[in-house]
C-alpha cells in the first residue's frame, strides 16, 4: 500500500471508527462505512490538513470511496 493510502486509511479509521479491514478501495464512505454527509465534509477537511492541499467543493463531491480519496490526493500532492 502506498504511503498516501496508509495515511488516508488511518484518518478514515479514526474518524469513522471502523475496522481497517472494511476500508477497501471500493468502500463508500456513506454506504459502506456509516458516514453521514457531514462526516464526508470533515474527512475532506482532515485530508486537506494531513496532505497540505486544498480540495475544491466540486472535487470533494466526487470523493465518495476510499479509492477516490487516495486517487485524488495522490494526483494533487
Amino acid at each position: 500500500m502506498s504511503d498516501v493510502a496508509a495515511r488516508v486509511k488511518k484518518i478514515v479509521v479514526e474518524h469513522l471508527s471502523v475496522e481497517e479491514s472494511k476500508v477497501t478501495d471500493n468502500a463508500s464512505f456513506i454506504d459502506d462505512l456509516g458516514a453521514d454527509s457531514l462526516d464526508t465534509v470533515e474527512l475532506v477537511m482532515a485530508f486537506e490538513e494531513e496532505f497540505g492541499i486544498e480540495i475544491p467543493d466540486d472535487a470533494a463531491e466526487n470523493i465518495q470511496t476510499f479509492g477516490d480519496a487516495v486517487k485524488f490526493i495522490s494526483e494533487a500532492s
Partner: protein, 245 residues
C-alpha cells in the same frame, strides 16, 4: 454561571449601540472579543475601554471578498472563533412599490449574505473543536413584517430560516445556532425618532418602554454559554411583549 473564559468571540456591528454592548457583555464574562464594524473610530474607542483580550477587525460587510477574509483575520488575531455574533445590519426603508433593486439587494447582501458567509467561514474551526456558538441578531419585524421594510424584514426572516437549517446540520458537533430578535431598543438610531413616533411605538409594547442594549446582550450571553448547549435553532424574542411569539 455563563463563564466564557478561554473563548473567543467575533461580534459584527460592534461600532453600534447593540453590538458594542454585546461585545462588552461577552468580554465581561471572560471572552476574548474581536470587534468588527465599518467605522474604525468607535471600534478603537471600545477596544480602549475594554483594555485586554480585545482586537479591532474592521470590515465593510457590503464588500463580499472582505467578508470572506474576516473569519481568517479573526482566527489569526484570536487563535479561534468559538462564538460568532452576526449583529451588523443596515436598513434602506422604502414603500414596497417604490423600492429599487439596489435598496433591496444592498440590505439582503449585508444582513443575510454576509451572515451566511461569516457562518460558513467559522464553521470549520468549530467543527474541529466540537464546540461553537452562533447567535444571529434578527428582528421582531422578521416575524411580524413592517410597512416600508420589505427588504429588511425579508433579510431578518431569512436569518431565522438559515439559522434553523444550519442548527440541524451541526448540532451533532456541539455547535448551536440561534437567533435573538430584538424589538424596539434604545440606540442612536431610535434617538432620532420624534416623541410622537416614540409614543406611537410604545402604545404597541405591553411593558410600556423601549428595551435597552443590555437586555439584548444578556440574551446573547446566555445563548453563547455552555449552559445553553441544549438550546439550538430557536429565536429568543426580546421585545417587551410587543409580539408574543
Amino acid at each position: 454561571m455563563f463563564d466564557l473564559t478561554g473563548k473567543s468571540a467575533l461580534v459584527t456591528g460592534a461600532s453600534g449601540g447593540i453590538g458594542g454592548e454585546i461585545a462588552r457583555t461577552l468580554h465581561a464574562a471572560g471572552a476574548t472579543v474581536g470587534l468588527s464594524g465599518t467605522r474604525t473610530e468607535p471600534l478603537e474607542a471600545l477596544a480602549a475601554e475594554l483594555g485586554e483580550r480585545v482586537y479591532v477587525l474592521p470590515c465593510n460587510l457590503s464588500d463580499l471578498p472582505a467578508v470572506d477574509a474576516l473569519p481568517k483575520e479573526a482566527v489569526a488575531a484570536m487563535g479561534a472563533v468559538d462564538i460568532l455574533v452576526n449583529n451588523a445590519g443596515i436598513t434602506r426603508d422604502n414603500l414596497f412599490m417604490r423600492m429599487s433593486d439596489d435598496e433591496w439587494q444592498s440590505v439582503i447582501d449585508v444582513n443575510l449574505t454576509a451572515t451566511f458567509k461569516l457562518c460558513k467561514g467559522v464553521l470549520r474551526g468549530m467543527m474541529k473543536a466540537r464546540w461553537g456558538r452562533i447567535v444571529n441578531i434578527s428582528s421582531v419585524v422578521g416575524a411580524t413584517g413592517n410597512p416600508g421594510q420589505g427588504n429588511y424584514a425579508a433579510s431578518k426572516a431569512g436569518m431565522i430560516g438559515m439559522s434553523k437549517s444550519l442548527a440541524y446540520e451541526v448540532a451533532s458537533r456541539g455547535i448551536t445556532v440561534n437567533a435573538v430578535a430584538p424589538g424596539f431598543i434604545t440606540t442612536a438610531m431610535t434617538d432620532k425618532l420624534t416623541e410622537d413616533q416614540k409614543s406611537a411605538i410604545l402604545a404597541q409594547v405591553p411593558t410600556g418602554r423601549m428595551g435597552t442594549p443590555e437586555e439584548i446582550s444578556a440574551a446573547v450571553l446566555y445563548l453563547s454559554s455552555q449552559e445553553a448547549a441544549y438550546v439550538t435553532g430557536t429565536t429568543l424574542h426580546v421585545n417587551g411583549g410587543m409580539a408574543m411569539l
